[in-house]
Symmetry: C2
């Protein structure tokens, strides 16, 4: 999958005012005694020295040479190659294989049957400038995995991005998709939401196309002249409903090891209810051009040179997809280097290695940076150094279809991870540009420190200084004031879309997701053009940011591996959760005003009077009044948490002088604190998700919903569920507050 999509859902970064021209004071490395700080900086310097763009390029070339999707020969070949690399660097490496449901197309057809015939080509056209683009025999066809089988014919309706708000708009225009085939453009939210909502609304099929507005010529020159999507490019991708659970669809909550029980296919809820197929704008144009009916609202119109009508019809299409529903193996490569002092504390670093096709950017850009980190740590080990804590490198397979490799591994090793998991560090695609950071907010202070110690290769300032500058020049005056008044970076919250999900949201291990980007945009995502040729021209020539990513995540690994006190901090978490509570209250108040206004305007016939009689009109529906809810439990919990976190921060320096046994206790209490935010019962309707603070949105997918139970219940106007959510979220925060109180007692004594 792709970091960029995820970053769209991250809250904006707030950065230290002092950082613009500042430098971390070398005497103040968070979690380290002064006496250990110099050694740590030396270690990091040696680590950097071993990194190599030439190595990253060699691995990139090797791993992207052929399509390496799940089940392909080259996927296994890559896993074995990566395994051999880890071994060569002194890691105990092994391939862990799971058997997963991995349907591949047996038949795909899309044709317009009226008002004039058109048969979609459903394929991408290789270009001479990109040598791997013509490996046609090895490429997966263009499809959306975990679409159900289907053979439907119906009138077409254009539904914009196909998100819930788009259907509200259709309602207001009096247009129903019941019994129709919808055509949605990619973007606006995770692709899996499109068939999910379409099916809820009664549609019988779903076509997803890439509008040139979003990643084609509207954005810039198209491939191969430039990096953007040409007319034949198609975005593959999963439509598994991983808002219920990710991983193998037939083994929710436990590892898909050989012999494990499988849900019968007809009981699997994460497969779509209607057939789905992705297409290019070459194939979309004749369809959209044949729609009549009202014009789409202005914000719905893309960049094809046509009036965007909504339909329904007269375009009528026949859509057929049929899959081989067999199982395939996924091969996770897991490489360990045992810690010398705390072998039971695991620092886990992961990036997937499977791709939709050749996958140079997604995922190999992050994979080769990670391999470089492992190589460099191997060299340190070769020279006699050993980590205090255990390091585990994971090259995941099967991320693209639905985070399969990481999820099955976490589910299989759940008990060990509960006992030993300290931190999970994820990366995925990586490109030129600015550092994007998401994660548990207990890591915010730590990440600020790391980001100040890595130099941006283009501008020669700390990478965090560039992010801060970018934020500042884009800010409104009010926002600029907010940035300037903030004491630290505010990292984003994690939803889904890459392999951190099961670590954070199922296992309760503090997690982070890092990557550079913003200056290497293109339209190659999940197409045959995400290739070595494309990557080295447009995404990160010279692996300049590949090396920067290795330096960044390498510091995360090495500092967590060696810290005297595990560098968690709770002030930033408490402040951020307080902001989430404020957001939810504000949105409830907005709903109340909006519903009341709507009621008044309906009573006044204002909507009818304002409407153009020549355009379709459906009177808006009245909404029930929005009640006031009791937020006191959350308010109290946040207040208590803030107080405890402030105390912890003020006592933190004491930790460095604790007796070893007490320090060990403190570290144990620290790294297991994220677990306290889990509720074993999980979220309503989706118990796999146990984290009470962070979850992918039920109707956003990759996009995060924070305090998801209360927030989503309010959005869905389920007031009793919201109140229950407020209580359970407050309980989770109270558990963490009690833990911090306990650590404060330990520090005070």
């Amino acid at each position: 999958m792709n970091r960029k999509l995820l970053l769209g859902a991250l809250a904006p970064l707030l950065l230290f005012p002092a950082l613009l021209s500042g430098q971390t004071n070398p005497g103040q490395l968070f979690g380290f005694r002064d006496s250990d700080t110099v050694a740590q900086f030396n270690l990091e310097r040696r680590f950097d020295a071993n990194l190599s763009a030439a190595d990253q390029d060699r691995w990139m070339k090797r791993l992207s040479a052929f399509p390496h999707n799940v089940g392909s020969a080259y996927d296994l070949s890559n896993a074995r190659y990566i395994d051999s690399l880890y071994k060569s660097w002194g890691f105990e490496s092994q391939i862990e294989t799971f058997e997963v449901l991995y349907p591949t197309p047996l038949a795909r057809q899309l044709e317009m049957v009226s008002p004039k015939p058109y048969v979609a080509i459903l394929k991408e056209i290789p270009v001479a400038e990109d040598p791997t683009s013509d490996q046609t025999d090895l490429q997966l066809p263009t499809f959306n995995i975990y679409s159900c089988d289907g053979d439907v014919t119906g009138d077409l309706v254009y539904v914009n991005y196909g998100m819930p708000d788009d259907y509200l708009q259709l309602d207001r225009m009096g247009i129903s998709v019941r019994g129709k085939v919808v055509i949605a453009r990619y973007g606006g939210g995770w692709r899996g939401i499109k068939p999910k909502v379409a099916a809820e609304k009664g549609a019988i099929g779903c076509i997803i196309y890439s509008d040139p507005r979003d990643d084609g010529y509207f954005q810039g020159d198209v491939y191969p002249k430039g990096p953007f999507k040409n007319e034949s490019g198609v975005q593959r991708g999963s439509v598994e409903d991983m808002t219920l659970y990710p991983g193998d669809p037939q083994t929710p909550g436990y590892g898909s090891t050989p012999g494990a029980p499988r849900l019968p296919l007809d009981q699997v809820k994460v497969i779509t209810k209607i057939p789905v197929l992705p297409i290019s704008y070459h194939d979309a144009l004749p369809l959209l051009q044949s729609l009549a009916g009202p014009m789409a609202p202005e914000s719905w119109r893309g960049a094809l040179p046509i009036p965007y009508h909504i339909g329904p019809g007269p375009a009528r299409v026949h859509l057929l997809v049929k899959f081989d529903w067999s199982q395939k193996p996924v091969h996770d490569v897991i490489a360990r280097m045992a810690g010398t002092q705390f072998p039971g504390q695991w620092i886990i670093r992961g990036n997937h290695q499977d791709a939709w096709v050749n996958g140079a950017d997604d995922p190999l850009s992050g994979q080769v940076a990670m391999l470089d980190e492992a190589k460099s740590i191997g060299a340190l080990a070769e020279a006699g150094w050993r980590p205090k804590r255990t390091l585990i490198f994971c090259s995941w397979d099967g991320e693209e279809p639905g985070l399969l490799g990481s999820t099955e591994w976490v589910e299989t090793h759940e008990k060990e991870l509960d006992a030993h998991g300290v931190l999970y560090i994820n990366t995925d695609s990586n490109e030129k540009g600015l550092l994007g950071m998401g994660g548990s907010h207990t890591l915010e202070k730590f990440l600020n420190g790391v980001g100040m110690d890595v130099t941006d290769p283009e501008r020669k300032v700390p990478v965090i200084t560039r992010s801060r500058a970018s934020e500042m020049v884009e800010a409104s005056p009010e926002r600029l004031r907010a940035i300037q008044s903030e004491a630290g970076i505010q990292i984003g919250a994690l939803g889904s879309g890459s392999d951190f999900s099961s670590f954070l949201q199922h296992a309760g291990i503090a997690s982070m997701d890092l990557g550079y980007g913003g200056e290497g945009s293109g339209g190659e995502y999940h197409s045959i053009f995400d290739s070595y040729a494309d990557f080295t021209r447009f995404k990160d020539p010279g692996y300049v940011y590949g090396l920067t990513l290795s330096q960044t995540t390498g510091r995360c690994i090495l500092r967590f591996a060696q810290a005297d006190v595990l560098p968690f901090s709770f002030k930033e978490f408490a402040r951020t959760v307080g902001q989430y509570v404020d957001e939810i209250k504000a949105s409830l108040n907005e709903m109340r005003v909006r519903s009341a206004d709507l009621d008044e305007l309906i009573s006044d016939s204002a909507y009818l009077l304002a409407a153009d009689p020549a355009k379709p009109f459906a009177r808006p529906k009245r909404e029930e009044p929005v009640p006031y809810l009791d937020f006191a439990p959350l308010d109290n919990a946040v207040a208590g948490l803030k107080a405890a976190a402030d105390t912890f921060a003020s006592l933190h320096h004491q930790a460095l002088t604790l007796q070893p046994v007490l320090l060990d206790s403190l570290n144990d209490l620290l790294y297991t604190s994220e677990r306290l935010l889990l509720d074993p019962a999980g979220l309503p309707l989706r118990p796999w998700y146990r984290h009470m603070i962070y979850a992918p949105g039920f109707y956003t997918g990759y996009g995060v919903k924070t305090l998801p139970e209360s927030r989503e219940a309010i959005e869905q106007r389920q007031w009793e569920l919201a109140t229950a959510g407020i209580l359970r979220e407050a309980e989770a925060l109270d558990r963490l507050r009690e833990r911090i109180d306990r650590m404060n007692s330990l520090l005070r004594d």
Copy 2:
């Protein structure tokens, strides 16, 4: 020209909360004694009964049958026809002719000379469905009048709408247009600003094209399938710099009567400094497609299926325009019906009759509604009724090239108008939809009353109720509160773009501009497709809103003609000017914060650090600090005005019982009060504009700038000029306040 462009510049309407389901109480007609009210309503009922869609259609067909631009045979034929109509209805009508500079093209060439040859076709292609579109021999070619002659060759640069802000953006990208030919799209402001600003920036030529984003296929089906601009459609139009003065370029400030002195052509400042030519998107596509350089900012990109690059080059173009700079006659038709009681008080009603080509919508839709009013009033007169005050109907010629007919007439009759002018009522294009109202804010209360007494033909509620409903359903919650809290409609302020300009801004006669629209949008404006066929299909089939316009403006005429007390009110004016002062203060404060923030960010190198090194970058320039200015004179003037206006409102009922001689005095004081807002010295650099409250913006054109002297000085960072403006504006308001005080004394006695 076109009301719609003007309406874009109007402030949003605020409507009476009570109006949504209310009706005016027939006992309370503003300015009428109870005893006269019933007669007035009867009069208006008889007036309505004489209106006829069939007549409007007959005149529309006759007047739009052939192109009738200035100087054409059919323009004169139409003037004579209209003159004969007025005479047949009992008016004293005559044609007043002026001689004006009216250049027409001798040669037009546009070709791309590299990277590949392209010769622009520079013509519109007739369509079979539109019978008048093939009158090719009679059609003016596609051109912009008052472009200078020119023959230039240069690299092309895309400048978006070519407005001042667009050049700020180019500056930030380090791109200069010096020595280049710019290509700007229509829209974003008045077309004449495009060559004016381009020349200021050093460009040598200016091409203006119609992007399909703005009025082509992006908006809907194109002509003749739908109403929007097809690939050959071209918008003609004036680029006379009427922000300096409108009217004949060679006779600024006085009538262009035969024998009047003419400025030599080389001293005329309202002709462009560089050659200009408008083109279709058929001709623009090859040019834009051949640009390289950085991508245009996202908001600049249109709907052509290409990446919008800025250039400069490699597209290089040769542009040649050469004109016949001879004079042509303009024929104003002026029809009078003398008042019985107050013949020296003139109610003036105008709409232009000249067009760029066949001009069905612009201007005949308004012209035929006005003729229907004159016809109906003629019938009332035929039956024995006579107006108390003198009515003057004006069918203007030469509006399109630069408000020539109305301006020369006002300049010629300036003294009489100063003595007699009570009210000027303007219309122009008229279409299906909602009532748009702009004018002197002393007319706001009056217009509210009229708008409550005219029924919307589609929804059968007062036309004002529909406007209010439209405002409400589009409003944010905060805005909705504001609408609900307002005691009356807030009408828009008038800039320029139609024939009210010289009445209001030069002669100081209270003016209004009315029209319906919003449901008849299309791309026909100033093209060969603004035709009878187009109008009757798309703009106002059945003249349903033509009749509604006649009812609306007819009431304005008849109420002002018959009122016991002229229905001016000052509370709404005082409130609105107070809001303008608040706006200007707020914008000064925003500038201050922005300049200070900019300075800080430049000092921090934030712009450099945030920038993508692969993209062009120019460090923003520091701005001098923004001072605090003394607004006390305006604050005091507004406070005084509000108090006087409130008193006038509370005493107003006394006027109806005044002795006749005192009432006559009051009416004289009332109708000349707008004159007090003129300052004989006029605005800096453009003394033709004398109104201290309303003027077209120097860099917006049609778009209004209220309190223009202080507001524009602040925008241009000319602090001393701003202070001078504040004083002169305060003096104008004080003059009006003194007048109101005088009237209050008269009412008290």
